[in-house]
């Protein structure tokens, strides 16, 4: 008998129909993954099961958790079911915990509100549960003292403190590094087997899905387009959308051949340390070495990747190259000129270098029109084009990234995430820079959009020699869009070489562990009728 049975669930909020006839079955001890792109309704399906949908949601159909229909259960009874019969783990471990309460306290709260126990006993059980999820820190710590992976363990401990029959995990590893992700997935699998719990996991990452799930449910625009046992589905993909998703996830681009040429960017034994707060009143301030003797070169037209986990110094390096931050030792030169001169970024150099950031939503001023947004870098030029020349430059930049000149009068909220990232690239291209830094530029995008943006980058490389530094935590993306790759750990570049060589034959143990931890998509086969 199934543990969770969602039957013909339809959901609308206001006049928007969000879910259409969704049916999902989860058995005890089974891992079911819902996958799909943003806006496919996967998160709302999860919230519907928890009875935590936003105000004004109207539902049809039924959601059976064992004997109870969630849709007809009163809010009062739902409260006693949440945390006890079903638990939920959310995506963002950084904000999912209350910052002003200790982690032990927050786990114990789950126990206290559902059972008549003493505080002492609840705390003890919370400490045991924290240990069970593999957390070694003291329960009296506060969330801000923990890393992302540790926090996610706390969130999991909170959700399973009362051993619920159903655990829902909404993108539980999306915000984590690959090695941490591998450990958290391992933990979830282990808990499912240990507690005989049903796990409904929601993720956009097909490699994760293929690795962990017993059953896969693919959603598109609020409908289930395909659902089957994992092995069955992987060996016989029927729906064109599923096929497109898998194709996009393994998307490879063909870069034009890189012809070795003269050096462009040179980074020479760069070091940067930050002072940390004092541990005692009169003690000296401990130091954090963010960059430690980093040296590398990028030649004209060369595509270089930089991978490493969070905190390894990628962002500090980006800021240093852009001249936004002074380094304490070493030198960064672009075309023979220092990027940083007299306490400020060197404008001469900034004319040749642009950056594209990760967040397509936060990196634009929402009150400016697109033309003003992408014309911004023009100010660093000596002869800033005005009037017709400016308009011409804007429409050329827009057309280069696959948009049209009429888009220049729109506001940024009128564009989708992928289009915004195109606009960000247009903004970088408008001064025809010699070097572009892509700082996690495709990490926030859906797979199909990511594939398009990667195609765009490859396309731009074909039009003119473009050198870039592509920073990402996603190894598969770096593998396809770069000629050379560098691996960073604890502020140092520990391995660098031709991309294919590093990936197929990593030398450093850290690189090996990174590549091993990254989930990979298995070979898939498509059903005859769609091929």
């Amino acid at each position: 008998m199934s543990l969770l049975n969602v039957k013909n669930l339809s959901l609308s909020i206001g006049s928007f129909q969000i879910l259409h006839d969704v049916s999902i079955d989860v058995l005890p001890g089974e891992i079911v993954a819902i996958t799909g792109e943003s806006g496919s309704g996967k998160s709302l399906t999860a919230l519907a099961v928890m009875g935590l949908l936003p105000y004004g949601s109207v539902m049809k159909g039924s959601i059976w958790l064992e004997e109870k229909n969630i849709l007809t259960t009163s809010e009062h009874d739902l409260c006693s079911m949440r945390g006890r019969a079903m638990g939920m783990v959310f995506q963002e471990p950084m904000t999912a915990l209350n910052p002003v309460k200790t982690i032990g306290n927050q786990v114990a709260e789950t126990i206290i509100i559902h059972e008549r126990v003493t505080k002492f006993e609840a705390n003890k059980r919370a400490a045991d549960m924290l240990q069970r999820v593999g957390l070694t820190v003291d329960p009296s710590r506060y969330p801000h003292e923990l890393s992302g992976g540790q926090r996610q363990r706390v969130v999991i401990a909170m959700a399973i403190a009362l051993r619920p029959k159903l655990l829902i995990a909404d993108e539980p590893t999306t915000a984590l590094d690959v090695t941490t992700q591998a450990r958290i997935l391992e933990l979830l699998k282990d808990l499912v087997a240990d507690f005989d719990m049903g796990l409904l996991i929601i993720t956009h990452d097909l490699a994760v899905v293929a690795e962990i799930a017993d059953k896969i449910v693919v959603m598109q625009n609020g409908c289930i387009v395909e659902a089957a046992k994992t092995q069955e589905l992987l060996h016989n993909i029927r729906h064109p959308y599923t096929k497109a998703l898998f194709n996009a996830s393994t998307h490879r681009v063909i870069l034009p051949k890189y012809i070795p040429s003269s050096p462009l960017l040179s980074v020479e034994s760069v070091a940067r340390t930050y002072n940390l707060p004092r541990k005692s009143v009169f003690g000296s301030r401990p130091k954090f070495q963010a960059l430690d003797g980093v040296s590398f070169h990028i030649s004209q037209g060369e595509r270089v990747g930089l991978v490493g986990e969070s905190g390894c110094g990628k962002s500090t390096l980006t800021r240093a190259i852009l001249g936004l931050e002074e380094v304490q030792r070493g030198q960064i030169m672009l075309d023979g000129q220092s990027v940083f001169s007299q306490k400020k970024p060197n404008l001469e150099v900034r004319r040749k270098m642009q950056v594209v950031f990760q967040d397509p939503y936060g990196s634009f001023n929402p009150r400016h029109r697109v033309d003003r947004l992408i014309a911004e870098p023009l100010h660093v030029l000596e002869n800033t084009p005005i009037g017709k020349d400016r308009d011409l430059a804007i429409s050329k930049a827009l057309e280069d990234v696959g948009l049209s000149a009429v888009d220049s009068k729109k506001y940024i909220h009128e564009f989708s995430g992928g289009q915004r990232q195109r606009i960000a690239i247009a903004r970088a291209l408008i001064i025809e820079p010699e070097l572009i830094i892509f700082d996690e530029a495709v990490s926030a995008l859906d797979v199909s959009v990511r594939a398009q943006v990667l195609d765009l980058i490859a396309d731009l490389c074909r039009k003119r020699p473009l050198a870039y530094l592509f920073i990402s935590h996603d190894l598969s993306v770096v593998r396809t869009v770069t000629d050379r790759v560098m691996v960073m750990q604890l502020g140092q570049i520990i391995e660098q070489g031709q991309t294919e060589q590093v990936f197929s034959n990593p030398q450093h143990t850290y690189t090996q562990s990174l590549i091993a931890a990254a989930p990979t998509l298995p070979e898939v086969t498509y059903a005859i009728e769609t091929v």
């Binding site: 928890m50 915990l97 209350n98 910052p99 002003v100 506060y142």
Partner: protein, 314 residues
């Protein structure tokens, strides 16, 4: 936490030193010689000189500054030039009106604002929210002296529950509190209105945070999530406003003191400025600055008590 407190204490001392320097020099550069002001324009040159040396005005600036500061530290504020009595006596008479009044008003405003803000936030968009927000809108808009006059009209003149003004002293504490009640309410209402609005919006910000959703997923009801997780997080901006309000209530009640004939600090400083009694002005201002800095210190400590993230930063 100890390190944080020491850090705040150090910044408190530095602020006090800077404040004393600023107050001293501002008073010094104000045109007008207190001695000639006291003796009138027809005073003889030697009488003036004698008075100047008596008041210590002929000493070098540095010496006078240190004399003043050392005096302050010993509780000796000097003698008022117009009242001819020690400034410390003048102040201590009045501080026993102004300080209780400010605390009284602050307690009232917090007691009104917290429940109102929390209720409004938890019933967002509902009838209670609309009513409370409407009331606070009026509370912010209507000046406190108008409340004061209306209250005198109702409670003193018609109902005769309170006296319309004056202060009988603290020999009978109940009488003292009673005579401060109407002034405290009139001071508190506009402050409560502001505080309630801050409390509401700060709570609403917190209610949309991820950790509230996590708390709901644990099985907490809406109300429990609000009380256990949102309120404490929402306190930070509220504490800031409470700190600012206390400083305002201590000295800013001058109109209210005037309406209720209360011998408070506001009236003292007003009279001293008109009479160019610089030593009184200097002392009262220093005292107010001192209070503001101490209150800010208390607010800083309260921040750290509420939010553990602040404890590690110095």
């Amino acid at each position: 936490m100890i390190r944080y407190t020491l850090g705040r204490l150090l910044s408190l001392i530095i602020s006090l030193v800077i404040a004393s320097l600023v107050i001293f020099s501002v008073i010094e550069v104000i045109p007008g010689d207190p001695a000639s002001f006291m003796l009138g324009i027809n005073a003889r040159e030697d009488t003036l000189a004698a008075l100047r040396s008596e008041m210590g005005l002929d000493q070098p600036l540095v010496v006078r500054y240190f004399d003043w500061v050392i005096g302050l530290l010993q509780g000796d504020f000097g003698n008022s030039w117009t009242y001819k009595t020690p400034v410390s006596e003048l102040i201590s008479d009045r501080i026993w009106v102004s300080l209780p009044l400010a605390i009284y008003a602050l307690i009232l405003s917090t007691l009104i604002a917290f429940p109102a803000g929390i209720l409004a936030a938890s019933r967002r968009g509902g009838a209670s929210d609309v009513t409370i927000m409407g009331a606070t809108q009026m509370g912010v808009a209507i000046p406190n002296f108008w409340f004061a006059m209306i209250m005198v009209l109702i409670f003193a003149i018609h109902l005769r529950w309170f006296s319309a003004g004056g202060f009988p002293g603290w020999s009978n504490p109940l009488q003292g509190i009673k005579s401060l009640t109407l002034p405290a309410i009139s001071l508190a209402l506009p402050q409560a209105a502001i505080l309630a609005r801050i409390m509401r919006s700060s709570l609403l910000d917190m209610l949309s945070e991820d950790f509230i959703r996590t708390a709901r997923a644990k099985g907490l009801t809406r109300g429990q999530a609000l009380w256990r997780h949102a309120v404490r997080n929402a306190l930070i901006p509220v504490l800031t406003i409470i700190g600012l309000q206390f400083s305002f209530l201590l000295a800013g009640g001058i109109i209210i003191e005037q309406i209720f004939f209360l011998p408070g600090l506001g009236r003292l400083i007003f009279q001293a400025i008109s009479a160019r009694d610089l030593i009184v002005v200097e002392s009262v201002v220093m005292l107010l600055v001192f209070t503001v800095i101490i209150v800010n210190f208390a607010v800083d400590i309260a921040y750290a008590a509420v939010d553990p993230r602040l404890r590690i930063k110095a």
